[in-house]
Symmetry: C2
C-alpha cells in the first residue's frame, strides 16, 4: 500500500530529527571537547547542517504533503493530528524566516556579540549600541514575518517560537500578579533572614570530589549514565536527544553548591527529554513543549525539590562522605539557610529564587518597548537602571552591571527572557499538584528516592510531549489553568516561615 | 558576474565537505565519548547524514554542472582541473552505488558483523559463512557497477575507491617483488636476532604517565593540540578534518610502547591531513590521496622514523622521566631490539614490520579469488591456513586465529587490505628520498626535532593533496616510479645489520 501524505511527512520529519540530533552533538562538542582553534571549522559544519535542515523543511514537497494531510485530517488519530499541527508550526516558522534573513541575522548578531564583549571590557554601552540597533531592526523584520505566517502580533510570534501557546496577555496577567506581590515578599524575607544569618562555608572543595558527589546525586535523580553524560563547560547546559542526553555543569572549588545545583538544574531538562513519549521520539509531537516548560522542569528540580529541607537532609551525609566536611556550618538548618538566602543583587545570573523573576520582568518590559520603537536603543542604560531601582531598590553603577550583563539581545534572542520566569511559575503550580498527589514527597526526597516524582512528571508532563498547548497541559496536570497563585503560595510558605 | 558552472560546483562540494566533517565527528564521538546505550540513536543520525550526503552528490544539478564545467575545462587552471577530475570521480562512485544497494549492503553487513562475532565466540567459521556469502554477492554487484562507471575491471574499481590511481597490475608487480624477497629476509632476520635476544621489560606503567609521555612526543612531532585532541578508544584511529583533527590510542599498563606507537601512527595520519593544501581544504582536490598514501604516512612515522636507533635515543630520557624507569633493559640498544623484534605470528594485528606484508598478500590473493568465484566461501578456512603456512611457515590451529581474525570482509571492505602493504612500500621509497635530501635526519630525530621531516613531507606529499595520482606524486617526490626496491633496501639494512 502506498504511504499516505501523513505517513510521508512522518518520514520527512524523522530525517529532520536526525539532523537536529547531529547539530546538537556538534554544539555539545564545541562547548565541551573541541580544541580552541577549531571554532571556524565547526562554524562551517553547523551552518551547512542548519541550512540543509531549513531547506528540507521548506521544500515544496513538504508543503504539498502538509496540505494533502490536512485535507484528510479526519482520518488521523489524536496524536497524529497534534503531530500534524506541530509540523505545520515548524514549517510556518521556517518559511517565515527565509535563508536571506537568517544569513543577515547570523552576520549581524556575530558582529554584535563581538562588540558586546568589547563594550563590556570598556564598560561602555555606546560601543555596543549601534550593533544592537541593527539586531533590533532585523528582529523586527523577523517578528513581522512570523506574525503574518502565524496570525499573531509580532512579539507574540517571537514568543510562539520559544514557548508555543503562550501569549503576551497570558504573560501580562501572570507578571502583574508577581509585580504586586514580590516586592513586599522580598522585603519581608530579607527581614526574616536578617534575624538568623547562616554561618558561611569556608575552605576548598576539590573538584574531583565534587564531581563524584554530583554523579551520586544525579544517579539518585534517575539520570541514565548508560544513555547520557555529565561533563564540565563554561556555562551549564543540556544538549543531545532522548537516548543520548548530555548535561554539563561548572564546579567552583570555593563553593560546593554551584556545580552540584547546576548539574541538578540540567538534569531537570534531561529527565524531561528522557520522559518524552518514546513512540513519537523522532516526530515533532514527541518534542518538549517549549522553553518555559523546559525551564519549569529544571527549576522544579533545582529550586522546589532541591533547595528544600528534605533535600538537605538527604544531601548532608553525602557532603560529609564525598567532601569530608564537618562542623556547625554543615548542620542541616544552616545549609538550608545558605541555599535559600535572599539578596537584592544587580546581576540576574547571581539572583536567588525570590528576586530572579524581578530581573526577568524588567527585561520583558524593556524588550517589548525596544521592539515597539517606544524606547530608543540609546536610552536603554538609563531605562534599565531606573527600572531596576524601581522594582528592586538597587541601581547599577555602570553598564556592565546593568544592560550589558546578558548576551541574549546581542544574539537576537527577543521573546526568550519571559520563559525563565514562566518556568518558575509553572514549576510552582506543578509542585503544588505533585505535593497533593504524593503526600510523602518530603520523606521520599529526604531518603534520596525520586521515583515517585519522576513517575508523576512522566504521566503528567514529560509523556505529553508537544501534544497539548502549555495551557491545556497545565489544566490536565494540575486541574487548573496556569496562574501565578500556586507559585506565590509556594514562595510565601518558603520564605516567610518564622519557625 | 554570475558564477560559472565550475564555481557553482565548488560551492556544492564545500557543503559536502562540511557534511563529511560532521559525520567524522559523530563517528569520533561514538568511539570515544558516547554512552554505551546510545548507539541506535547515533546510527540513525549517521544514516540520515550519509543519505543526505549521497543525495546532494547525485542530484541532476551536479550532473549538469559537471558536464558544463568539463566542456569549458580549457579555462581552468591546473588545480581546478584536478579538482574537477576528483569531483567527477566522487560522483561516479556515488551514482554507481545507488541508495538501494547501499541500504542492502548496510543491512547485510550489519548482520554479517553480528555473526562474525558469534562465529569467533564459537570458533566456527561455518556460523559466519552464509553471511559472508551474502556480503560477497553484494560486493560483486557493487564492483561491477563501479567498474562500468569508471571504465575499470571490477576489483580495480574497488581499489579505485580506496586508493585512486593504483591498479591490480601495479599491486601484482610490487607484491611479486615482496614475495620473492621477504621469506628469505624473514628467515635471516630471525636468525640474526636469535643470536642477541633482548631483555624483556617487566612491571606496570601507569596509564596517566603514559598519556603524558605520548602527549610530549606528539608535541615534538608537531601535533597541534590547539586544533586537535588525543584521546583513548578500543582501537586507535584518526577522525576529523584539517582544523579539528582527533587521534586516539589505547594504553596498556603492562607495555609502554603500544599506546605510544599507536598515537605516533595516528599522528602520521593527522600530520598528513594538517599539511593538505589549505587553499583547497574544502574541495575534493584538497583531500588526501587515498588509503595507501594515508597508510604510508602513519607507517613512515611509526616504523621508519620511530622504530629507529635515532628515535630510541630521543625516547630513552623521556621514558626515564615520565615512567621513572631504569636498569639494563632500558638501555638504548635493548629498547631498539625490542622495537624491531621479528616473529612469525598468526595474527596480522600482532605482526611486526617485517612479516606484516605477508599477512596482507595472503588476504589480497584470497579476496580476489573469492570475488572471482574461484574460491568458494566454504573453502576459505582451508585456503587461508594453507596459504599462511606456505608464505610464513606457520599454520593456524583454528578459525579465530585464521580467517575469522579480521572484521574487514564482514563489513564489506574488499580491495581495502592491499593499501596496508602499499603504504609500507610507499613509506620505504619516501623515506629513502627524505634521507638523501636531509642527511642530518638521524641527528634531528635523536634531538626530537621533526621540523625538517615535516617540511619535506609538506612540500612533497601533504601539500599535493589529491592533485596527482599516486604514481605521479611518487615520481615527483622521489624522482622514481613506485616500486618495492627502496622498501626492500630499507628492510634489508634494518633487519640484517650484523653490528
Amino acid at each position: 500500500m502506498a504511504a499516505t501524505p501523513y505517513q510521508q511527512l512522518e518520514q520527512e520529519f524523522r530525517r529532520l530529527h536526525a539532523f537536529r540530533g547531529a547539530l546538537s552533538l556538534l554544539r555539545w562538542d564545541a562547548a565541551v571537547m573541541m580544541p580552541r582553534g577549531s571554532s571556524d571549522v565547526r562554524g562551517e559544519q553547523l551552518a551547512a547542517l542548519e541550512t540543509e535542515h531549513h531547506a528540507l523543511l521548506t521544500t515544496p514537497k513538504v508543503a504539498r504533503l502538509l496540505e494533502r494531510a490536512e485535507a484528510a485530517a479526519g482520518q488521523l488519530e489524536d496524536w497524529q493530528l497534534a503531530n500534524l499541527r506541530e509540523m505545520r508550526r515548524q514549517r510556518d516558522h521556517a518559511i517565515a524566516t527565509p535563508p536571506s534573513l537568517i544569513a543577515r541575522l547570523a552576520k549581524v548578531t556575530a558582529r554584535a556579540e563581538v562588540f558586546w564583549v568589547e563594550a563590556r571590557k570598556a564598560n561602555d554601552f555606546k560601543i555596543f549600541a549601534p550593533h544592537l540597533e541593527e539586531v533590533v531592526h532585523l528582529v523586527r523584520d523577523k517578528a513581522a514575518l512570523l506574525g503574518q505566517a502565524r496570525g499573531l502580533a509580532p512579539y507574540d510570534a517571537l514568543i510562539d517560537g520559544f514557548t508555543p501557546g503562550i501569549s503576551t496577555s497570558d504573560i501580562d496577567t501572570i507578571f502583574k500578579a508577581l509585580s504586586q506581590k514580590l516586592p513586599g515578599l522580598i522585603n519581608e524575607a530579607i527581614e526574616v533572614q536578617a534575624a538568623r544569618p547562616p554561618l558561611p562555608l569556608a575552605g576548598k572543595f576539590g573538584v574531583a570530589r565534587q564531581r563524584q558527589l554530583a554523579a551520586e546525586v544525579l544517579k539518585a535523580l534517575g539520570f541514565p549514565f548508560d544513555r547520557g553524560r555529565l561533563d564540565e563547560s563554561e556555562h551549564p547546559f543540556t544538549e543531545g536527544v532522548p537516548g543520548d542526553i548530555r548535561v554539563t555543569t561548572r564546579f567552583d572549588a570555593s563553593d560546593p553548591f554551584t556545580g552540584l545545583l547546576g548539574a541538578v538544574h540540567e538534569t531537570g531538562h534531561a529527565m524531561y527529554d528522557l520522559g518524552l513519549p518514546q513512540a513519537w521520539r523522532d516526530q515533532p509531537v514527541g518534542r518538549d513543549r517549549g522553553l518555559a516548560l523546559e525551564e519549569s522542569q529544571s527549576l522544579l528540580f533545582e529550586m522546589n525539590l532541591c533547595r528544600s529541607r528534605a533535600f538537605v537532609s538527604y544531601l548532608k551525609p553525602l557532603l560529609e562522605k564525598f567532601l569530608q566536611v564537618s562542623g556547625p556550618e554543615w548542620a542541616e538548618e544552616n545549609l538550608y539557610r545558605l541555599l535559600t538566602r535572599v539578596k537584592r543583587s544587580l546581576i540576574r545570573m547571581d539572583a536567588d529564587e525570590l528576586t530572579y523573576p524581578v530581573h526577568i520582568m524588567l527585561r520583558y518590559e524593556l524588550e517589548k518597548r525596544i521592539l515597539d520603537g517606544e524606547l530608543p536603543v540609546a536610552q536603554l542604560p538609563e531605562a534599565w537602571n531606573e527600572n531596576l531601582e524601581e522594582r528592586l531598590g538597587v541601581r547599577p553603577g555602570n553598564d556592565v552591571d546593568g544592560c550589558l550583563q546578558d548576551i541574549h539581545w546581542a544574539v537576537g534572542h527577543f521573546g526568550y527572557f519571559p520563559s525563565y520566569a514562566l518556568g518558575a511559575v509553572i514549576a510552582g503550580q506543578l509542585h503544588e499538584a505533585l505535593r497533593s498527589e504524593l503526600p510523602s514527597l518530603d520523606e521520599e526526597i529526604a531518603a534520596g528516592r525520586f521515583g515517585g516524582v519522576m513517575e508523576w512528571l512522566r504521566d503528567n508532563v514529560h509523556g505529553v510531549g508537544a501534544r497539548l498547548p502549555v495551557q491545556d497541559l497545565m489544566k490536565q496536570a494540575t486541574g487548573k489553568p496556569l496562574t501565578a497563585a500556586a507559585y506565590l503560595r509556594y514562595l510565601e510558605t518558603k520564605y516567610l516561615e518564622t519557625s
